[in-house]
Symmetry: C2
Subunit: 267 residues, 2 copies
């Protein structure tokens, strides 16, 4: 049973396919990396994006597609109307998701969408605790190794989570287990803001840990400060912990509180 | 009067706001460039994307947004359902748009979306001829100056066209004038395929010149060959003619024949 408040929370998160996800639905776009040359230097590209499939829609109407009238085989042209909740699949949360006067997906300039990438690996902790958080000590450990987090960067949590796997097992979990998923601890918000971090990202479907929902303290603090977030990232285990860049390729739709995106790492 | 066949063609192209576009609607996302450092080298980013506004929707239902039930001020969270025709604003045409079994937007890997950028400037010709085409001699001239077009690249037409300006003046044009807009000549398709070019792009809303519609010979030849296209690009006058890269940031939506995108140049 999912109550009404949980339903809205889950809807916001693009969460739970209630056992409908199959492995076929979850197939990534392949190949998911590229390397090419720019100014004579090798540039590696890694796709951090899940293929956007119905596996990311937990209610039948969340993601639909219908042919535009008159299109099709006879017209020699295929053309669809898409209907989608903004926060589906790998997507950006714009400040407006939680800040009524905040920037929409249409207001964020490229200068804020291509940024240094910082990967915080908490996979070991997640093995022992399904509700693990990115804590201040993880930030301290990263900085001890790589130096101060660059201003304007995006700090992402690598928890090892696969939302599609989580969705497909949702039906077999206890209510207590369903509420457990890794996320950022509110205690790191201040530190990241002091570092002038621009965005945060996660490989789960929420920057808030499961047990923090539906209060959403991290969404509240982070998005209301005018910053953005990325949810549903993948392949973070193959991105460099430091020294790379992240680009959030989000169509600049005016007034949108979020948008499915193509997110890449460059290194 | 727009007849039914034209209407479908225009719908495919995301064309004509029938005088509803205002300058406010057409405001770009600013700042539209960034520069940052990667491996100690300066990297310039230029946004080639129009802000995705209602100015790009010529029928009232082409682009709509409604709050998800239960979201809003009281819930402390804004969340919308978007309904949009795939080929709206700056967008990618996937092969499937014209090839029934062709790759969808969900099938194109990043290795084919980040590619060398080739800019063919035909602005002088467009001044004299509203229906100017990219012709073989333009390709020859580019190669004489910059060398052979790199395999796997994206070749874009810089015509100086601004679709929003064109849309807003649509009502004052004669039927003959309405059919005139720059595009690729079918005569260059073979050359570009021989160079193993991956994508083509335009600053108009169609890779076909206006007078070639609704037969769409360029769409037919190019997309059916398994290649993609970008329509509605902007800022091409500020991109380097050679030596840069283009990234088409398109959410990998399964089965989509096209998708609004965030397109950038890197140089």
């Amino acid at each position: 049973m999912i109550d009404r408040r949980d339903m809205l929370a889950l809807s916001a998160l693009g969460a739970v396919a209630l056992g409908t996800a199959s492995n076929a639905d979850a197939a990534p776009v392949t190949p998911d990396q590229a390397s090419l040359s720019l100014h004579g230097r090798k540039l590696h590209i890694l796709d951090l994006t899940h293929r956007l499939t119905r596996a990311f829609a937990f209610t039948p109407g969340r993601l639909t597609m219908e042919a535009v009238e008159g299109s099709g085989a006879k017209a020699g042209m295929a053309l669809n109307r898409i209907s989608i909740v903004e926060h589906t699949g790998t997507h950006l949360d714009a400040p407006r998701h939680f800040a009524p006067d905040g920037a929409s997906a249409g207001d964020i300039p490229v200068s804020q969408l291509i940024v240094p990438l910082v990967v915080i690996d908490i996979r070991n902790k997640v093995k022992a605790d399904r509700d693990a958080r990115v804590e201040p000590r993880h930030i301290v450990a990263w900085e001890r190794r790589h130096g101060r987090i660059p201003a304007g960067s995006c700090v992402v949590m690598l928890s090892g989570w696969n939302p599609l796997k989580a969705f497909s097992s949702y039906g077999s979990l206890t209510p207590a287990e369903r509420r457990k998923s890794p996320g950022f601890d509110t205690a790191v918000m201040d530190i990241l803001m002091k570092r002038d971090v621009r965005g945060i990202g996660v490989d789960t479907m929420s920057i808030d840990a499961g047990e923090a929902m539906p209060a959403f303290p991290v969404h509240q603090a982070w998005l209301r400060s005018g910053r953005w977030a990325l949810e549903g990232l993948t392949n973070l285990d193959r991105a460099p912990a430091a020294g790379g860049l992240l680009f959030a390729g989000v169509a600049p739709l005016e007034n949108a509180t979020g948008m499915p995106a193509r997110v890449i790492a460059l290194f």
